[in-house]
Subunit: 123 residues, 2 copies
DNA sequence: ATAAGTGTGCTATCTGAGATAGCACACTTT
DNA sequence: AAAGTGTGCTATCTCAGATAGCACACTTAT
């Protein structure tokens, strides 16, 4: 279902969260769409159900999905370009930019990197 | 000496490392300059000496400083725009850019953020 | 109605990274 | 000789992340 890098220092639940957000932003998952159940996801990914629970509860707290007891979890109406998610992404980008600048990466190098990233096709 | 945010998820040793790198890149610390000793740094910052040891050993491994037994630690000759450091910064920036893009941040928003960051004066 | 499937809410345990603590050693500087 | 320096250990503590298991409340499918 999702790709997990166990050697990454980024926690598994963050990796899954990121990938679900990407699916929502790219339109693969649309508002109202039903997500896989906690149990099916955790078993298919060989992860503990609590790990998936954490992903879903954070996504719900961010307003990206809505979980309904007994029924399932669904993409919320205002999931696309969600304010909390956008702000977090921008904050992280700001930190990375400040860090790069402080270490001597030039503005030109950054701009060319931005061009390159935004030319990449979405996988 | 350095500013530590204990609430940050970034480890203390990483925070110090980042700030030393900034001092080197900005020219406050020049090649050949002597760094404070492990013991003086750890005691003045109320941190364990092992935490500072980790900072210095990583910086030495990156080629930014050189530690001399019995004498002290010194900024190395090729510390400015050090390849390993630049590559790490660019990799992190790439990740942040991909993540922002995947979540719906537009290229224009990124470009304006880059402008803003590079207009900031160095503190 | 029943069974299966769903999310929720706990508690407990394990692991590894990060940080602390303390000691001994080798070497340089004063 | 004394003080200061980096190095190399081992041990301990804490916390986040992940696993494990159970009970409960509710919805959906049969």
């Amino acid at each position: 279902m999702f790709v997990i890098d166990n050697s990454s220092k980024t926690p598994i639940y963050e990796q899954i969260k990121t990938q679900i957000l990407a699916l929502v932003s790219s339109g693969v998952l649309k508002p109202g769409d039903k997500l896989p159940s906690l149990r099916s996801l955790s078993s298919s990914m060989s992860l503990n159900i609590n790990t998936i629970k954490k992903v879903f509860s954070e996504l719900e707290n961010d307003g990206v999905i809505i979980s309904v007891l007994g029924s399932g979890s669904y993409v919320s109406d205002n999931a696309v370009r969600n304010p909390k998610i956008l702000e977090k992404a921008e904050n992280e980008l700001t930190e990375a930019l400040r860090s790069a600048k402080s270490v001597g990466v030039t503005k030109e190098e950054v701009l060319s990197l931005v061009e390159k990233i935004y030319e990449e096709e979405i996988r």
